[in-house]
């Protein structure tokens, strides 16, 4: 068959490196779009032969955006290997640092990476459509974004001593040092501002939604299942709890699944054209068992948030969906803002808990089990670390399922839908292609498994005919 391919390589303003291939039929309509991860890092192999307690440190190096989530998933898997129940204060402090992580990562995704698209304009001059353009045109919004991100980063710094890769503090069995009242006060001092920024930006985003109403139709709006962690009461959860899966009508199809037995219900498929695996819900098979994770999915699976302001906002959010389930991928942004609000409220709740300041923060033990699974909700979705060790604790095998992987099938569906809506014929329009990128940014991939770019061209789209002849090319 006569086929043409458009390539967006690399996709810009995302974390990591990926490309998009859009395949056109003879008549110039989009046949299929693929989201491809172009690099390979192999952390699962690197860690073989290393001591289990090094896993948090090694694994967190996968990503500079959300190292804390990797640290926590790895540390939880190591807690399993130690077979200890960690002190309550350690759980609270780990939750607190994770709140900081989610706030900073969501703020990065929303303000730094995506806001230029919907504030400056998806068709605007690409040289201005970035954080610097945002600073120029909307300095107040940019400042708010930077301040909110810094609030999250500082929580991490106050607890762990460093903002990025604070791998000495989170240890198997708990955390290394307790939280002092002085540091707690320093976190509190910025709390009100952070809450104000989050609330203001939710209002701003609702205005944007009104304006974009027409554009949002078929903008990554498709039925999938949703997966996320919940508390025992079914509330929003990021650190512990159980897995719940709901369908596109809001029906719970699986509840209180043990995250440690993820392999019983999550399968991983492989496609020859991407380094990223394709997880699916096993009972429904591949590819029917497509599900989404991340902020939108978490709000879809949770019965409620569990904090007053976030719960109020969740009610508004649910009105945008059917039966309380929101399908539109663009609304990941809205979900992200609600989660920021939730996390800020949770920060206060944790700081007000006297148990947070207990000196007992580290349960020490040696290897008692030879296998451990750690699961947390990273900013981008469910993150699973699984290790097997020998009797001394040397890692012999490991498996990671990162949040972006869960969404892999969804990425491909979303970009296909958006490409079909906007791209026709052989001429390429940068603004239309940016819509394909924008939907990827809404899902907020973290592809930092691919951090080394060797090409200075930020965007290179090539249109080939069936014989490999270049029909059109656009670089910037």
């Amino acid at each position: 068959m006569d086929e043409k391919t458009i390539e967006i390589n690399p996709v810009t303003r995302i974390e990591g490196h990926a490309k998009v291939s859009i395949r056109l039929s003879d008549d110039g309509t989009v046949k299929e779009a693929r989201f491809q991860i172009t690099d390979f890092r192999g952390f699962e192999k690197i860690c073989e032969g290393r001591p289990f307690y090094e896993m948090p440190g090694i694994m967190s190096r996968i990503c500079g955006i959300c190292p804390v989530s990797h640290l926590l998933a790895a540390a939880k898997a190591c807690d399993e290997i130690l077979a200890v129940s960690i002190p309550e204060a350690a759980v609270l402090l780990r939750r607190l640092i994770h709140m900081g992580q989610i706030i900073q990562s969501h703020a990065l995704s929303f303000f730094y990476l995506s806001a230029p698209d919907f504030l400056i304009g998806v068709d605007s001059d690409p040289s201005k459509r970035n954080i610097f353009g945002l600073i120029e045109k909307y300095p107040d919004v940019a400042k708010q974004g930077i301040k909110l991100r810094s609030f999250g980063q500082k929580i991490i710094e106050h607890l762990a001593g460093r903002r990025i890769h604070s791998n000495e503090w989170i240890v198997p069995g708990g955390v290394r040092t307790p939280l002092s009242k002085e540091k707690s006060d320093r976190i509190r001092s910025e709390y009100d501002d952070a809450l104000k920024i989050a609330s203001e930006n939710i209002l701003r985003f609702k205005d944007i939604l009104e304006k974009l109403r027409g554009e949002l139709e078929n903008f990554g709006d498709f039925p999938t299942y949703y997966m996320g962690l919940i508390t025992s009461k079914g509330d929003l959860e990021h650190y512990d709890g159980w897995i719940r899966i709901v369908d596109c009508d809001g029906q719970i199809i699986a509840d209180h699944l043990d995250p440690k037995k993820y392999y019983e219900y999550i399968g991983e498929s492989v496609e020859p054209w991407s380094y990223m695996k394709f997880p699916y819900y096993k009972p429904l098979g591949y590819p029917n068992g497509i599900y989404r994770v991340g902020p939108l999915a978490r709000l879809n699976v949770a019965s409620k948030c569990g904090t007053p302001l976030a719960d109020g906002e969740l009610k508004e959010f649910r009105k945008l969906g059917r039966n309380g389930v929101v399908q539109n991928t663009f609304l990941y942004h809205y979900a992200r803002l609600i989660e920021i609000l939730f996390c800020i409220e949770k920060v206060e709740e944790i700081l007000n808990n006297p148990e947070t300041y207990s000196e007992n923060v580290w349960a020490r033990a040696s290897v008692n089990r030879y296998e451990g699974v750690g699961v947390v909700e990273a900013p981008r979705g469910t993150l699973i670390h699984h290790y097997k060790t020998d009797k001394y604790g040397i890692v012999k095998w490991s498996n990671l399922i990162i949040a972006t992987e869960h969404n892999n099938l969804a990425y491909n569906m979303a970009i296909t839908q958006v490409a079909k809506k906007y791209i026709r014929g052989e001429k390429i329009n940068e603004g239309l292609l940016n819509r394909v990128e924008a939907i990827i940014r809404a899902l907020d991939p973290c592809l930092s498994c691919a951090t080394h770019t060797w090409n200075s061209i930020a965007l290179d789209v090539i249109l080939y005919d069936s014989k490999g002849k270049i029909l059109d090319r656009l670089t910037k």
Partner: protein
């Protein structure tokens, strides 16, 4: 000390009084002249293994390890020259390329003597291909760990074990790049009957090769330990 045992030398153009039996390094230290070292540790015997403390001696084309070279009357020594810096940098590069050293995930990161020296000499790239062979990690001991992937074969642990603790549990097997620190007759650490678990090996290790599990590296390390113990013994 008799007058006859006094020797006069010049280090970097400065006249320094030393004594017979002094090494160039000890004379320089007394005169507060800095010579970089790695395998050398105050309180332990000199080993001359790392070649970081090389100096030039006037009248000889050779370079001398200052930790093992005795002073002699009239010696003129240069401790810092373009040539020396070049060789020291090369030596550090060779040490770093011999094992898969990855600072970011090492327990010693930020408290590592090799890392400090690499910074001092500007080793930001390696000119020889790195050796990526994975080496064994002995996790069998209750709290002491030896990770051969990080060992630079400076033999400080072996000397501390022998000369300070007096048990000589640790030693070196093989030669050249196959050299490896061993416990007793190359056994697992847990099965050693002679190890007293004194942790001195971990305290003197300049890198993250021997360490105490679950302890921050800054707490384990004690560069002055050997010197301190010997001074208490009146040695």
């Amino acid at each position: 000390m008799s007058v006859s045992s006094v020797v006069k030398i010049k280090i970097d153009g400065v006249e320094v009084t030393a004594y017979e039996g002094d090494t160039i390094l000890s004379a320089a230290k007394r005169a507060s002249i800095y010579i970089p070292t790695l395998c050398y540790l105050d309180g332990l015997s000199s080993y001359g293994g790392c070649r970081l403390c090389i100096v030039e001696v006037k009248g000889s084309p050779k370079l001398f390890p200052s930790c093992t070279t005795p002073v002699s009357n009239g010696m003129e020594i240069i401790t810092n020259s373009e040539r020396l810096r070049k060789f020291r940098k090369l030596t550090l590069g060779l040490i770093l390329s011999e094992k898969p050293h990855i600072c970011s995930i090492c327990v010693a990161n930020g408290h590592c003597e090799l890392q400090d020296l690499a910074k001092e000499f500007g080793v930001d790239h390696l000119r020889v291909e790195r050796e990526w062979t994975a080496h064994k990690i002995d996790l069998t001991h209750d709290f002491l760990v030896i990770d051969h992937n990080r060992c630079i074969l400076c033999a400080r642990c072996i000397r501390a074990c022998d000369e300070i603790e007096g048990v000589h549990v640790l030693d070196m097997k093989m030669r050249g790049k196959d050299s490896q620190v061993i416990v007793d007759m190359d056994e697992d650490w847990a099965s050693s009957r002679s190890c007293t678990s004194c942790r001195k090996c971990a305290r003197v290790c300049p890198v993250g090769a021997i360490y105490v599990r679950d302890k921050p590296f800054s707490e384990i390390k004690d560069k002055e330990m050997a010197k301190f113990i010997l001074s208490r013994r009146g040695l």
